[in-house]
Symmetry: C2
Subunit: 212 residues, 2 copies
């Protein structure tokens, strides 16, 4: 398989979500035209995107929803279980632990870690909150693959560096910083305040155009 462009990859989870909805509505086949209406993108973009993976569709027949859903799921690595722990058991960490969909999609959250004595010992949907001093042994002993960082930026950087030494190769980073870790470590960022700024950019752009 050729290297898929970043732009296409970034659209795959959205295809996956729409195909999941179609499945739940018991729709078995869908044409690129119908799918494009639902997703509010052009049919030709859909065909081009899915052609990256060999197509999946037949002319005049449309896509088999269940098959396409499963194939995109495999591409997204959702056909295997991913062990994840959460560092930072505040509201954001607990929100992620409690988010039921993650478990249904092959993510196994086994523990949360925090230094706050008021949180340590608390039960969450993602397991108990453990003292952060056990984090490094825990990830080594339990084959943890992904660490979600839901804590402020200063501790996040230090903890990430130590986790890399323990063999962690993938971070889901909510800290307000770009983790400085070596290039072969996978980091996916969720910068909430940057998302909010994109929103206010658009508000301000709209207001400026109305005032013209």
């Amino acid at each position: 398989m050729n290297k898929i462009s970043k732009a296409v990859v970034s659209r795959l989870p959205r295809y996956y979500r729409y195909l999941d909805e179609l499945r739940q509505e018991n729709i078995e086949r869908i044409s690129s035209k119908e799918l494009s209406k639902r997703m509010n993108v052009t049919a030709s973009q859909i065909r081009q995107d899915l052609n990256n993976f060999g197509g999946f569709g037949q002319q005049g027949y449309g896509y088999n929803v269940q098959y396409l859903y499963e194939e995109i799921g495999k591409l997204l690595g959702l056909n295997v279980t991913h062990k994840m722990v959460i560092v930072g058991a505040g509201n954001l960490g607990q929100a992620i632990a409690n988010y039921g969909n993650f478990r249904n999609r092959g993510f196994e959250i086994t523990a949360l870690f925090d230094k706050n004595p008021e949180l340590i010992g608390k039960d969450t949907a993602g397991g108990k909150v453990l003292d952060i001093k056990y984090l490094y042994d825990y990830v080594k002993e339990n084959n943890v693959e992904i660490v979600a960082l839901t804590l402020p930026k200063e501790p996040a950087q230090k903890i990430a560096e130590k986790l890399v030494e323990c063999g962690i190769k993938a971070f889901w980073n909510f800290a307000h910083t770009d983790l400085g870790v070596s290039g072969d470590i996978i980091v996916e960022n969720v910068h909430l305040s940057e998302s909010l700024m994109k929103l206010t950019y658009r508000i301000s752009e709209k207001n400026n155009s109305l005032n013209k």
Copy 2:
């Protein structure tokens, strides 16, 4: 000013974050070369991006950090106050309400809303949690500009439609759906599970290339 491309806009918050860090380190000027090293992008991309806004820099002199920070802040609409309420006072809603940086950047979170009697009346950094039945009157009476939706997708869609009727024109949407609202309404999505899928895509891509 010409219409700025989406790609450039999406990079502005990151410039803003780095410039804020430079300010805090009391750095007054920075060349595009130094900035590019810090941000791990090419100096030519930085120059091109900032040229969209008239440049800000002088050849051989570099950028004035404070000035550039303020100008990008204005572009991002951060020079005015934005009133926001949060619908859904679970862990995610509370995480956003408690996130101090938002307040420092001109976001005024005045209330949270929920239908859960156990949450109603609770004090948070974003104000009290109010009964959702007061939401529509509240946004009309208090000139609320942005509504953050941190609740499941079914109620999110219905509530968003009613809020649009009340005059809300901007949503920060965490619900696992693309809000079906008319095109002049601004929606900025944070789809957490899609971000996590991008991470597992990269893990699976890396594993496949190692197994070849």
